[in-house]
């Protein structure tokens, strides 16, 4: 009991007692100007620090649970509060417990003219013994240029820099079946009118830009395809590349007029920048930033089983435009 009391007193003194410091630098002029103590601010700082400690400990506790609901929220709250309490403590320290001096200091000198000249002299004298400076500099330039080129050239291994032929390649060729994402063929009779389907080439990589198609079926009389594409849409089914010619996003929206007389016609729309294409007119751009129509894929109807097949490759290269997008026709990889 006695021992306990002595421990309690010792702890109390440790915690609450204020140490009388002997002034160690009393014989020297102060650097930091003196200020009066502010015991209440000290208590406040102590409270805030204990708050920070409690919140941080709370974080550890919350973390130690396995599968607590709203765990992320509690973790963020406790850690955030721990930081907030610490910040508050520091602000009280700054505002009330340390002296806020206003010091003046000279801006650094603009430059060191003598040293600058000496540096110039140093460089000049260091190269005194060269007599054919211009010639040597030319040589150095040649070496530096060639070395630079030698060091940069390996970067060309990153990709085919000069060979851009791959951009014209798509997996579509005459006779290739259109399938859905599960590999099921598209049957003409199963296609509803004015509904939006996504099709892929059977057996090819679905994640290639040249693969995905948007397929829409119209009344054949509604189609006004460009000249030369009369027989590209058997049964009124048109197929276009699903990749927007503006910025490469998937043309994932279809505008279906619900009341023809007053509403704008059907349209394929890219959700990235709202390029809008008219599927009845060869995906002509009717609004938005795209600079060319979606490439159209000619279709064939397999008379025996009613499946839709490609009749060839697209009307133009797929994907976003580049300098060569109009100069060659798309082709199959060799």
């Amino acid at each position: 009991m006695n021992a306990l009391r002595r421990w309690a007193i010792a702890l109390g003194v440790l915690a609450l007692g204020r140490k009388q410091r002997r002034p160690r630098f009393a014989d020297r002029p102060r650097i930091v100007p003196p200020g009066a103590p502010d015991p209440r601010a000290e208590w406040l700082v102590l409270g805030l620090l204990l708050g920070a400690a409690a919140a941080a400990a709370g974080f550890v506790v919350v973390y130690s649970f396995n599968h607590l609901s709203h765990q992320t929220q509690y973790l963020g709250l406790s850690l955030g509060l721990a930081f907030a309490f610490t910040a508050a403590a520091l602000v009280v320290v700054a505002k009330r417990l340390v002296v806020t001096e206003e010091l003046e200091e000279d801006y650094p000198v603009p430059g060191h003219p003598t040293t600058q000249e000496e540096l110039e002299q140093l460089v000049a004298e260091g190269g005194d013994r060269f007599t054919r400076k211009r010639l040597l500099l030319t040589g150095a330039g040649a070496a530096a240029g060639a070395l630079g080129a030698a060091l940069v050239v390996p970067a060309l291994s990153l990709g085919p820099f000069f060979d851009t032929d791959a951009l014209y390649e798509t997996p579509w060729r005459r006779g290739r079946r259109l399938v859905d994402e599960h590999g099921k063929p598209f049957l003409l009779d199963e296609l509803e009118r004015e509904t939006f389907y996504t099709a892929y080439p059977e057996g090819a990589d679905k994640e290639e830009v040249g693969s995905p198609l948007v397929v829409v079926r119209f009344e054949p009389s509604e189609l006004h395809l460009p000249a030369g594409r009369r027989d590209w849409a058997p049964g009124g089914v048109v197929a276009y590349s699903k990749i927007c010619t503006h910025a490469g996003c998937a043309v994932a929206l279809f505008r279906k007029p619900t009341f023809r007389p007053v509403e704008p016609g059907p349209a394929l729309i890219c959700p990235c920048h709202y390029s809008t294409f008219d599927p009845t007119r060869g995906a002509k751009v009717i609004f938005g930033p795209a600079g060319r129509p979606l490439p159209q894929l000619p279709l064939l109807l397999d008379r025996e089983n009613g499946e839709l097949l490609a009749a060839g490759n697209f009307s133009g290269p797929v994907g976003p435009s580049w300098w060569g997008v109009r100069s060659k026709a798309p082709r199959n990889p060799s």
Partner: protein
Amino acid sequence: MIRGLVRFLDERSGTAPFVKKALRYVFPDHWSFLLGEVALYTFVILVGTGIYLTFFFEPSTASTYYAGHYAPLRGHEMSVAYRSAVDLSFKVRAGLLMRQTHHWAADVFVASIVLHMLRVFFTGAFRKPRDLTYYLGLTMLVFALLEGYLGYSLVDDLLSGMGLAIGYSVLMSVPFVGANLALLVWGAPFPGKAEFWSRMYVAHVFLLPILIATLLALHLFLVAARHHTQFRESRRTTEKKVVGVPTFPGYAPRSLGLFFSVAAVLFLLGGLVQINPIWLWGPYHVAQGTNGAQPDWYLGWLIGALRLVPNFDVTIGDYTLVPNAFWGGALFPLLVFMLLYLVPWLDRRATGEYGFRNLLDRPRDAPWRTALGAALFAWVFVIFLAGASDRVFVSFGISYVAQLWIYRVLVFVLPLAALIVTRRFCLALQESERLGQIRKQAEAEARGELPQTEQL
């Protein structure tokens, strides 16, 4: 203990005089000077949370099927990268907190850099001898934008993929060399070779952070070497003398307090306010897209520009000279950054001032600079707003097409209006200040006091 530590370090490094100088380094005080510090501290949080994320994220496009706890995604085909990002959100304890804090910090990082830059511009702090500091800061902004873009692209959710498709298309659209550059970076036509993911990853977690950190160190070194600028607040603040609070004991607790405040805000946001819920977007597939997609705020100006341009490609015969995406996606940001890089030079040319400037202008003190800055800002900002027009359509029902045409007009009108209004406003402020001084002087004379001849 202090004495022992000081002696230990000084005897081994000889830096006691330097440390003493650093501790008495003077910081002029103004709230707007803290913006750069916020950016610095946000960067620290970004590095910390980012390192944590690298321990769980797998940058691989290998295909896999999700079999985790989140039911809506179960059985879906996705990349290993996306699955690991979902797993580190749901399975790793504190993973989601770190990921969301990292994302919030990225948004705040760019925001604080932009605000800091605006402060520097409108107060003329970019003038000699701090023009080099300004160029470094601007370069950091470029890297920060790229870094943020790569960060949210790496996750390989649906929005990542759409963003990458746009980035690829913009690079493709560069005249003459676009396709070559895009193939070089992606390794193959979009979505690119598997190695592209390693390239993005090493750029995001190593190259760009190192570049930013190096520029940051140089930036801070130059700030300290030429000292801070200050406003002309009293007669003591002059071109020759800097007045303020020393690092120790006055400024250090303030600045540390700011650091902990930034950390508090970011972790509270990261814990309590959802950002980029990738499990709702789903994995990316080339054939998929979603309506109402928006990038992080700092790329909003580019999506706005891409949407505003009318539909044309510039062609010569079969050759496509300028594909459309070039205007909004490449030329517009290039132009804005070129103007920003030219600012110190243009300012010197316009004012004929080649001397040292340690005192800041208030925005009204330089009406032309302020007005031109406001015009440039209005131009970028209205294009930024145009990027949100699809959301405005969803929320307020204002026709998208009508909005687009309004913005196409505002892009030309608003900068001009901002120029005229801002300049007049600055001149009016100057005038009212002058009248105030005259009145004060007259009142003082009327009271029989000595006429005030000094001006601040």
